[in-house]
Symmetry: D2
Subunit: 416 residues, 4 copies
């Protein structure tokens, strides 16, 4: 046991409490009913997010490390395991919304109990081991990822209801026009990408390795809702030549005619948010587009989407002055007041989610964290107004299937 480890334990306990408290603060506007329902197989009930993140700490932290560990409830592993095959059988994902028990109150009691036990554990000398503290840090980051999912899933759920309820308020003012769009030219060359600095990262952010880039150019700003509207008005959703084949099939199968949450009301466009219905903000980044729509828009503009190495190399070079990541863009979607979230919308890249050279998942269940999803997904870079500020870094690799639209996903163009 070292004083450095003790210090780290103390620091992580603070982060743990902040993250756990923020999750619950995000839920303050909810009615009990809002916690229960699952709006689609890809989304989860809020109640499930609250319990699953708690189960993660209980299972991977208390389980191996708490003396005389006993599960809080024998049924919870089955109910709240997400996808860890190593941890045994689990309730089918698509049926998470069938569970009215445990109730919301019972889930909050579960959270409180685990919080107490973890505070206890982190206050003992037992905690002064880096492998244990690594799990705390992973769990905190995991909790923060679920904060974003909780909000996107909630927005999707409320959108199923024709009442178009407003969960929070008041709505933000419309954005001002951003700075003039520029194309940032880059000469290419041999670079290192991937995480190797101090500080936390997820496994798939490494290993750090070299890539060669041909010269490229990336736009200085995200595509705005007003610019995307031009694509719609130019018939973008009825011109198959602009679309990937699978994208065009999705347009026809799903009847897409605009980004998710957009509605034409009378003569004007509105979008649904956690504030309820808002007038479309033409200067805000377009959000809730699929990869297919991002790609079709790029083709419409005789451009393409950036690859993830291009994005990362540029983000690193520009991040000192913040010119790139924020790009003058205001927060477009509903940021819960005082939530500490930053950023605007995720950027779809042209890169499928694949392992970096030499990538090797960790042994055991946490090795299932990212590796087994490395097919049929596209990488997103940056972060959104729902993303924890601490996750917004040049190496973070978010990923979703190319037809996903309920995340806060947007477009940045590239050329060459």
């Amino acid at each position: 046991m070292t004083s450095a480890a003790a210090e780290r334990a103390a620091s992580l306990l603070i982060k743990y409490r902040e993250a756990r408290a923020l999750t619950e603060r995000l839920c303050e506007p909810l009615a009990t009913e809002d916690y229960v329902v699952q709006s689609m197989p890809d989304a989860s009930p809020v109640k499930w997010h609250l319990a699953h993140t708690t189960w993660f700490f209980e299972t991977f932290l208390l389980g191996p490390h708490e003396p005389a560990f006993r599960p809080y409830d024998d049924s919870f592993a089955y109910l709240h395991n997400s996808y860890y095959e190593t941890m045994g059988a689990r309730h089918p994902r698509a049926r998470r919304g069938m569970l009215t028990r445990p109730t919301v109150d019972q889930v909050y009691s579960y959270r409180a109990s685990v919080d107490d036990r973890i505070a206890e554990l982190l206050s003992t000398e037992l905690a002064e081991r880096n492998d244990l503290l690594d799990v705390v840090e992973l769990g905190v980051n995991h909790e923060q990822q679920h904060q974003e999912l909780l909000l996107t899933d909630l927005q999707h759920l409320l959108h199923q209801n024709p009442l178009r309820a407003s969960l929070i308020g008041p709505a933000p003012s419309p954005s001002s026009p951003g700075p003039t769009l520029e194309l940032i030219e880059h000469g290419g060359g041999l670079f290192e990408i991937g995480h190797d600095e101090d500080g936390f990262s997820f496994d798939s952010e490494g290993p750090r390795h070299r890539v060669h880039l041909e010269p490229f150019a990336v736009s200085s700003a995200l595509v705005t809702a007003g610019e995307y509207l031009e694509f719609i008005e130019a018939g973008g959703y009825s011109r198959p030549e602009l679309w990937l084949s699978d994208g065009w099939a999705a347009v026809q199968r799903e009847g897409w005619q605009s980004p998710l949450y957009w509605e034409r009301v009378g003569g004007s466009w509105q979008r649904f948010s956690l504030y309820g219905m808002l007038a479309l903000d033409p200067h805000a980044p377009v959000a809730h587009v699929s990869y297919y729509e991002a790609d079709a828009y790029a083709r419409f503009k005789e451009s393409r989407l950036p690859t993830e190495p291009e994005w990362e190399v540029l983000a690193r070079e520009l991040s000192s002055d913040g010119q790139f990541v924020d790009g003058g863009v205001l927060v477009p979607v509903a940021p819960p007041s005082g939530s500490g979230f930053a950023g605007s919308v995720w950027t779809w890249t042209a890169s499928p989610y694949s392992p970096y050279p030499g990538f090797m998942p960790a042994a055991g269940a946490v090795g299932e964290y990212n590796g087994k999803f490395m097919v049929n997904q596209m990488v997103l870079r940056g972060g959104s107004c729902f993303t924890s500020a601490s996750h917004v870094r040049p190496t973070y690799r978010n990923f979703f299937p190319p037809d996903a639209r309920w995340q806060v996903t947007g477009i940045r163009l590239a050329r060459r």
Copy 2:
């Protein structure tokens, strides 16, 4: 206005209050979460039942008759219309479980408000018109039908949860063996069936008309769980020759191996009920079988199911001493304490649900009550432990598709 009408209005107001109060009493054991979720497209959330029955009174009673009528909430017609095409667009049935708003509290406020307005209306001279009072009576019976659906839907919902929660208790004692089974022989002949007596009936119970019956025989008792177990143990679920073609397809598609809610736990059979898991009661009537299973069981016993005229003719003849309807059968499923429910399980008949000769649906929306469902459904007769006692009469025609199993449906055999 007549004193008879005033008397009827007063009497119906009492029935109204009793029915409305019973609905809410049935919900007392529920957590808020239990009101919200829809377990399958055929079932509805409890919250929806509470609001829909209220909308029925608001729309068909207050709407045409209340002076200066204003809807309680402009969105509620869209949300709570079940299937009345005449009343305009409505929320898709399969998506009733997506609605977290209005909340449970808001629905109870809605109920209270409509209850007040109806009490007010029924206390004025306006109410002394038989056409208005007919709607009250229909609405009360409609509320009672939804009490049964509320309970069956709730049982189905709780069954989705591996926790197998017990909603009420304590569980009843196992049944004693019933009286010896007899085959009641009947010589057939020309009979009148259908409703024409005083008292309320649904439209499809008439017109009264003549039918000719060939000689037949019907069993004096319902098939018990223990008897049905012999069918299972004789390989009934793997012998196609016992099944209708569509039934055999259902067995294979759904993987049926026992009635719904039965589970083999260790070496013995249990069944899920609102009391939670109970040991199988061999002397209680088998419940939660589909028409296909009832039909296959009958074939296994070299028998058949009774037709609805056979059932009705016999029920009328025997109903004076209760020998037939109750047949010595104890209540098999969870009867909410003090709920006033009677009967045991519904009897599947061999009769498809068709209009009686001369049947003509009422004009307007209430004409949609039964007529448009007269295809692809089989008639059930009698009543169950979840059925309002006032509905258990010789002419009542319940109906469900032949693969439905979540209602409290059982088997009575016939011969010839």
Copy 3:
């Protein structure tokens, strides 16, 4: 052995040869390719019909009765059994169109071989047993049923092809207007229905039994295409109040806007037939409507469909002078020249297909012929231009699910 049996055997051999030859004559216009494809799970390839009817004779006639019987090909039972569970496993119905082997030539060789062996068998004294001859007669009637299915399946197949090929020609002249429509009133009463006369019948046509009918009226003529067009033009396909609930769901799910095979070409209606595209014949009976459409049309005309006892009682009374069955109606669809087919379109009745009182399927595999389909089907009466003339009798009970449209199905109205 009796001379009566010998005579019956000789007579049945003639019928056998005629029926088998007609099946093959119906196929003369086909290309090899037309024999192979299955257009939907409910239809079968022509090649399969040719082989299945042959397998029926081989299995139920040669199998038990031919000395030293050996199957023609060991794989054919698996491939050509339709639905006889008693006869063992079989190729899945929906995948009959996957089989390019045996080839068409091989199937014709199979037919020829079985024909020879049956001719041989029927020429011996072995054949002079009525139980054996009953199977011959059933097999001939079975072959004739498949002649009709072969033609309806073929029409459905050719309709999948945008070429709208004409298989036969020349097309018939349009119909002349029929006699003035009359409503034939009937006083009701107690009647016997069902088969008991001499001559062949299928099992489900009996037992003969008494039914009581309330007074009713039935139209003297089938509904014409021109009359049905008025329903379309009055918005019949967009008025839910005219439809059964399941029917309205089918309209929306399938996008029905007219009978099957109708197409609006330029400003006028055409229909697809085995002659290719023909102008709609307004005086011919409307064909290729589902039960749902027949029922909705009847409601549109403030009428209803006749029940099967009503139809049978009236058909018997009127059949002496042919007033009823043919009703002045010309052949509407493609009758293969010289095929001996008679009649016009089947009449949907309001009666679900149920067993008659006392119905008991035969023992063994042939007991699966009809009984196991007695749910989820509606009865059709009469016959069509594709039906063998010998099947057009007052007791014949055809049946299809209420959404089936590829058979030659039409409408006759009733009242009361």
Copy 4:
């Protein structure tokens, strides 16, 4: 016009004739019935391949270049366009098997007519333009790609039939053991990949560009059926930890327990081929595995799949002596006698199919050739026994979705 162009025209006409003749020679063993049926939406009827490749030449070569061009048949563009949105509406892919017309004979007549017209065109001075000749060359390569698809689709079709017909024969002798497996180590570095040499290539093989590779190792031989059997026997299909998440879902959904076409007959494994059922050849490369299976096998062997740049760099370095591509592997599947096919099985790479830097599809319809499929697909390298020898080159990029198994797809392992 130059003599070089005339020479190229003459040379291409020879290649054209050879390719067209080979396609028809491959069909010689077929019965007419085998040409018609579509076994799944991803496959096409043989007849359709014959017509589609002809339509390709007619549309892209004769259409713009033949004087006084008239389509052979006005309906053929609709029927035989595969996926060229630019060329207008087309018959739905999943319904290609519904078309019994045009018949096989008519398709051969169509082929002969277009062949004549192309021979005519290529014999005139009109043909001496490189843009025209480029289309001929593309069309020949396109025809060759469809030869492979025709054979794989045919094998899939015949496999639907329980008869397990043998199309050709006699079957080849089992393979001898290959040379000892080696791991070929490579130091990585900066390389150029992609096509830039003389000779034909598809658009997606370029542009040539630089990539940086970290050190890696690739196996000298393909994984054999015998090696793969060890994976099966070690429970590979029931160990989720070996699988990608989507792969494990496919295993469960599809019930995979072995490669496609493998069957356990008695105690030993057999595989279905165009020769009919053959004993499993343990020394032949495993074929007909999905990407998911290839990836799971690699994980089982604590290895991974090679990326496409790794494969290409190594293939180039080793191709002088043929050590790599053929790797000692004998032809594993049914090579039509004298067909000129070479190679063994395709190698799944770990690389999703993405555009190379600077890739820009051609203008017009041929630009749809590859670009629009660059999502949700994995790259395959090398070639199979069904691949035209002229396609087996270091830069060729084949691609299929990760769950595809009906192509001749195998596994080569990599490390690091």
